[in-house]
């Protein structure tokens, strides 16, 4: 697959990843209970949309969890076409050093309360699976 610079439109058949901090106990693999909706609640970092990563820009799902502290994360996996079928768009939003960064613009911080039904939709219906937890430090260089 040829990768662009991250500005090309996100295709319906693309998979996206959302990082879920394991510290928040929003997911318990053996419980049989879906991810808590809070995993898709916009944070202060999601001012223009909920941050996700485009799978095609990441070598392995574990890499989606990499962070400077090596903190532990689960990774929620979703299909873009499924989201669009429910009116949730995904747009490219490349960042320096992170061309696979994308956003769900409907889910931004200012709308964190009124979009709870969308957060529930994502956690209950559209999340295909959750993997991890992974605890990997950011790669240097």
């Amino acid at each position: 697959m040829t990768l662009g610079d991250g500005t090309e439109p996100v295709a319906d058949d693309e998979m996206i990843y959302r990082r879920i901090p394991a510290s928040q106990s929003w997911y318990h693999p053996r419980s049989g209970i879906p991810l808590a909706f809070a995993a898709f609640k916009p944070t202060k970092h999601d001012q223009t949309g909920l941050s996700v990563k485009r799978a095609k820009y990441i070598r392995s799902i574990e890499d989606a969890a990499r962070n400077p502290r090596g903190a532990s994360y689960y990774i929620a996996v979703l299909r873009v076409g499924d989201l669009r079928a429910h009116g949730l768009d995904v747009i490219p939003c490349p960042l320096p050093g992170d061309p696979g960064h994308a956003e769900l613009p409907a889910l931004h911080y200012q709308a964190r309360y009124e979009t709870q039904p969308l957060q529930v939709l994502l956690s209950e219906k559209l999340c295909i699976r959750v993997e991890g937890p992974f605890s990997l430090p950011t790669l240097k260089g």
Binding site: G32, A36, A38, R69, A71, R112, V120, E124
Partner: protein, 149 residues
């Protein structure tokens, strides 16, 4: 005692089947089919969890700050405590799951088949009570606690 919305008391406590399996960890996963006699003990676990995990004044960890998360506010912790005590005393079935919402609030989540009920105590003390069925919003009520008659 705080005034509660009727919806919360309608969580019901009639389930009388003996408790079977339960997925219990530090986050309180309760089986909604547990015997009513277990409910008080489970609510006490809720209260212990609130007190130990989100004691008032707890600062966010570095990892939480990195993720843009805010720990439960002192107001949310106080109201969650009062709410749990009130629901325990009224023999209301305990929540299936309890978690911080990452934005200064605390969520009591109850599941029963396709039914999902979310009672979110927002950081300013507002209660956001929502009922979903098969992931579809059926009812939502947002109001400050004490405004219910």
């Amino acid at each position: 005692m705080i005034a509660m919305p009727g919806q919360l008391t309608q969580w019901g406590i009639e389930s009388s089947a003996p408790g079977t399996s339960t997925v219990a960890d530090e986050l309180l996963m309760t089986n909604p089919r547990r015997a009513a006699s277990d409910a008080t003990a489970r609510w006490d676990e809720v209260l212990d969890l609130i007190a130990t995990r989100w004691h008032p004044g707890r600062a966010g960890t570095a990892a939480e700050l990195d993720d843009g998360l805010t720990p439960p506010s002192p107001i949310a912790v106080a109201i969650a405590t009062s709410l749990a005590e009130a629901l325990r005393d009224q023999n209301v079935v305990p929540p299936t799951r309890l978690f911080a919402d990452g934005d200064g609030g605390i969520v009591f989540e109850r599941r029963d088949g396709e039914l999902l009920q979310l009672a979110t105590i927002r950081p300013d003390g507002t209660l956001d009570f929502a009922t979903y069925e098969r992931g579809i919003l059926m009812e939502r009520l947002v109001q400050r606690l004490g405004e219910w008659g």
